[in-house]
């Protein structure tokens, strides 16, 4: 099976996100980046499918130069080669989901993969759409929030997560696109050998054409959320805080 995994590089989960001075983006100067976690699960699924059925795993990512580090990580974990669509846009980019998906689709088409995988959403923008839009652009069937993938004689049988603890099986022909839910597999770490081997693997860099028009949807303001409740922050030593909490639990919450 030839599998392409679309991977996004995002600010690290614990990064302190600071609104930029113009109030329209974030300050990216001191940010550390890593692989979007749901995409790491998509990569893991791809690597396991390759181990079972043979084939090739190609890591694909769009973004500025820093994205190369995340592609190297994918190669170190076992991807065979990588494609980097180089754009000049930052995290909140000048491209909307549709124009970014078009870039990815243009890179995917000449490869004619059997399967395209990506995470169900990104940890930064959280739009949760790139995979589904990509399937539509490629004209292939898709399914989302997938926890398990099984190859059948006619295509795939996948386990899809529904809400409230429900699941369903979905069958579909290949080629297809799946968005992978976290938790279906255990993520692997890159081995020293893998990191060494990654240096010899190919990363093809393609220059993205500049966006032809400003996106219809524009981000006009980024700001800290207003609190939905008035949070009373408790301060002191751990023992003092514990005493305050016990008092609240007794007199106000009334659970003691």
């Amino acid at each position: 099976m030839k599998i392409i995994v679309a991977i996004k590089q995002v600010p690290e989960r614990n990064a302190q996100i600071v609104v930029a001075n113009d109030g329209k983006g974030i300050d990216e100067r001191d940010l550390a980046y890593g692989m979007n976690e749901p995409d790491a699960y998509a990569l893991e699924e791809a690597l396991q499918l390759k181990e079972k059925h043979g084939g090739e795993v190609i890591a694909l990512s769009a973004g500025p130069e820093r994205v190369a580090a995340t592609l190297r990580e994918a190669l170190a974990k076992g991807a065979d080669r990588a494609i980097h669509i180089q754009t000049d846009s930052g995290t909140l980019g000048s491209r909307d989901t549709l124009s970014l998906a078009r870039l990815l689709a243009d890179a995917i088409r000449p490869e004619s993969p059997d399967l395209v995988l990506t995470g169900l959403q990104s940890d930064d923008l959280g739009l949760g759409q790139t995979g589904v839009v990509l399937a539509e652009l490629l004209g292939i069937p898709h399914s989302t929030l997938i926890l398990h993938v099984e190859k059948t004689d006619t295509g795939l049988r996948v386990k899809r997560e529904l809400e409230d603890g429900w699941f369903q099986q979905v069958e579909m022909p290949l080629p297809a696109l799946l968005t992978i839910q976290s938790g279906g597999n255990k993520l692997r770490y890159a081995t020293l050998m893998g990191i060494k081997k990654a240096r010899t693997k190919e990363t093809r860099t393609v220059e993205a054409a500049a966006p032809t028009a400003a996106p219809d949807l524009s981000l006009t303001r980024v700001y800290l959320p207003e609190k939905q409740k008035r949070t009373q922050m408790l301060k002191g030593t751990p023992a003092e805080i514990a005493a305050q909490l016990v008092e609240k639990l007794r007199s106000e919450v009334r659970v003691l």
Partner: protein
């Protein structure tokens, strides 16, 4: 404007010969005039076992509000097989139309059939805004539907503000709820509708305005060979042995606990309080707490008297599962964690110091 623009016969070119050509022309005319005349809203509601889902009612409330602010009307569509479509339930609300989109191929959800059916209704009736509840099902098809119209879905919206120039601002969260962002759609001369999905709990079903609505059925043209996926029946993995929804006190643990070996620390706190132990998704994914104790959009929705969140940052997916708690206490090392936005009492500090101290203090208070 309640209905589509009617240009009158004088606009029709003489070479229109078939109903199809006429319909195509009508669509073009409607599309050209949409920004001037039509500001109507369509809400696509979802049914669960023959009932309108509560999250759909919230989306309809959002649609009514948006339509009112635009000076236009809101309609609702529900997809399903013939019979068993609960669209009729909605005619008691103040709506323009309630459309039952009916076809045998819509009995079980598939993205292909839903997209094709909605595309046909939206092309025929023309709406300026199409609104969805942000559910797993909507996430599966709405982005592709928007793509068919050359648009991008504005997903997981938490608020809509009416703009002075008639263009509303949509608010959504970034970075797992650490920041909010305002989005505006640049007005286009001949634009397709704007597609929006609404986060659970962002609007209230109790705000729905009662009134009257016209009922209409819409039968889309669908063929079995258009549908590329075969959906199986929904199933549950483990018998739901733990029902957190009725728990009065819940102590819930998140990534901040760092290692499986540290879970007993939180379990001891839960035991001292006589509480049920719950967890956020990553903890259940890792197998540190059983999956049936997961709270959030993919787990259980809870509304206890007290929800004590330990080391939980408060990603959107978790918050939708516990927003109904009467009192929320949060302990987290990051003072900017989104969990503090919904907490009544917050402790920005090291859970490994505070949790044992709290357990001890509670045990002492009980004796």
């Amino acid at each position: 404007m309640s209905d589509t623009y009617d240009p009158g016969n004088d606009l029709l070119p003489e070479d229109i010969t078939s109903p199809d050509e006429l319909e195509n022309l009508m669509t073009t005319i409607n599309t050209v005039y949409i920004d001037k005349l039509n500001k109507s809203v369509l809400v696509v509601a979802e049914q669960r076992q023959g009932r309108i889902s509560s999250q759909s009612l919230e989306a309809i409330a959002a649609g009514q509000k948006l339509a009112t602010s635009l000076g236009d009307e809101c309609s609702v569509a529900i997809l399903g097989a013939q019979g068993g479509n609960p669209a009729g339930e909605l005619t008691r609300y103040k709506l323009n139309f309630v459309f039952a989109i009916q076809h045998g191929l819509l009995e079980h959800y598939t993205a292909d059939a839903y997209i094709a059916a909605l595309q046909q209704l939206i092309r025929k009736r023309v709406f300026a805004y199409v609104i969805f509840p942000h559910t797993y099902q909507v996430r599966d098809f709405a982005p592709a539907l928007a793509t068919r119209f050359g648009q991008v879905l504005i997903s997981d919206v938490i608020a809509i503000h009416a703009g002075s120039d008639g263009a509303p601002t949509f608010v959504r969260q970034l970075f797992q709820g650490k920041l909010n962002a305002d989005y505006r759609l640049t007005p286009q001369p001949a634009s397709a509708p704007c597609f929006v999905s609404i986060q659970a709990g962002a609007f209230r079903a109790s705000d729905l305005v009662e009134g009257k609505a016209s009922f209409d059925t819409f039968v889309p043209a669908l063929a079995a060979d258009q549908i590329r996926t075969i959906p199986g029946d929904p199933f549950r993995e483990s018998a739901h042995t733990v029902d957190l929804s009725s728990a009065a006190v819940i102590v819930s643990v998140g990534r901040g606990i760092r290692e499986r070996e540290n879970i007993p620390l939180v379990q001891a706190l839960a035991d001292a309080l006589g509480a049920e132990l719950a967890a956020s998704r990553p903890i259940c994914d890792a197998g540190w707490v059983p999956i049936e104790r997961q709270v959030g959009s993919s787990g259980q929705t809870v509304s206890p008297k007290l929800y004590l969140a330990v080391g939980i940052s408060g990603a959107i997916q978790h918050l939708v599962g516990m927003k109904g708690a009467k009192t929320v206490i949060a302990i987290n090392k990051d003072e900017n964690a989104p969990i503090f936005e919904v907490a009544d009492y917050g402790v920005a500090g090291d859970l490994f110091e505070i949790v044992p101290a709290l357990t001890k203090a509670i045990q002492a208070a009980k004796t």
